[in-house]
Amino acid sequence: MLLTNHFAELSAVISPSIMQGYIILMVLLVMGGTILDMIHKKSAKYFFENAKKAQKSATRSVGGGEKVAIATAVLVNEVLTSGEFSNPRRRLSHLLTMWGTIIFIVTTVIMIFAYPTTATPTPAIVPQLWHIGALMLAVGGYWFWFAIRVDVSAEGLSWFRFERADLFILSLLATSTFALIWSYMGGGVNVYFVLFILSSTVLFGGVYFSKFAHMFFKPAAAFQKRVTVADGSREGLPPDYDLTDPEVQRKFPDIPTYMGKNPPNMGLCIKAERAKHY
């Protein structure tokens, strides 16, 4: 099961060109949905207006080299390793889901376009990665759905309460689950294949209604956030004071008066222990 390219076997029933056409259609749906989402939410307009506003209150200008370093840091921390999550459980779940989705989609495209029929044997690693990707997606996704999702973990609501905001994660989970069941049942055209195609169509076709598009604008937002720190505008936040700096102590005399000239690290306080209400 793990070594079989089920799409190549399927080519006996469904023409490879139809499968390739479906993939291209899904890419177009994602592009269209993302553009519609941007137009509807005016996110790009807001983003550039916000960046211009931040530039006005900048205390220094950020050079091209520094911007490249910031972009690299965003790529390594935010994009590749989901560093924006402060909660390690959320980060791990997001990493599993994100990398699972990428591996799953990329290997699907490789199998359908590079090895469309059984005449061109598929290297064993590709279907193996396809299964691993689907499994990673299912593990990270179900963990998120049942335990980490804010409605369940913080709001204390039941896991089977659905909202429109759940369209993305639920269609992702359905796609990976039905893909794995379809593979386990030996491929071919059966009810699980129909459900697999149906859920993936909802996933890629529902971009306008779901939060699929976040993967395109989140890196841009993370980049802008780092730029505001580098240029000193800090999104209007107070500076990061060094309490031992004599200038800071002169400006704010309460600090040396009540905390001494070299205040100790006061510890984690509320961050020492996670809230557990439910």
Partner: protein, 160 residues
């Protein structure tokens, strides 16, 4: 001054929902982002401000605090033990900063370990004094502590 959430900065982690003592920070059902459901019930404790890992929660200043259209941004830094404020007026010119201590001892270091304290004797139970009095009101080391006895004085005027 109650808190509010910048939805573009919030990532819906739920830390503010967990910490809010007034139970007014909740998650929007459509957008999965936090919001203050009832600002008039906000205690202004700023626990959510401190708990938010993305500085997505801010303070809405009253009109008698700063003219409308201002920005009040705050960082409660528990490791430094300080609260830092930045108040910008809408003209962009008036930009004030304030830094004040919120603790003078490491968190938890002044909490008595009551499990190790011996049980009170009959004499202590019958006494008018409460637990650890007069030690805790510091009457045993030279009377009540005052600004004067600590070499401090109140400065006149508004301090920025």
């Amino acid at each position: 001054m109650p808190t509010f959430v910048y939805m573009t900065r919030c990532d819906g982690c739920g830390e503010c929902v967990d910490i809010c003592p007034s139970d007014i920070m909740h998650i929007d059902k459509t957008l999965r982002r936090a919001y203050n459901i009832e600002p008039s019930m906000c205690w202004e404790c700023y626990s959510c401000v401190k708990a938010c890992p993305h500085h997505a929660i801010d303070v809405r200043g009253y009109a008698d605090f700063a003219p409308l259209g201002h920005s009040v941004r705050v960082i409660r830094d528990e490791e430094k033990g300080t609260i830092a404020w930045r108040i910008k007026f809408r003209n962009g010119k008036k930009d004030m900063e304030l830094l004040a201590p919120i603790t003078t001892k490491p968190w938890g270091s002044a909490t008595p370990d009551l499990a190790k304290v011996p049980a009170p004797s009959k004499e202590m139970r019958d006494s008018q004094l409460l637990f650890n009095e007069p030690k805790y009101i510091r009457m045993d080391d030279g009377g009540l502590h005052t600004l004067k006895s600590n070499g401090l004085e109140i400065k006149e005027g508004v301090q920025y």
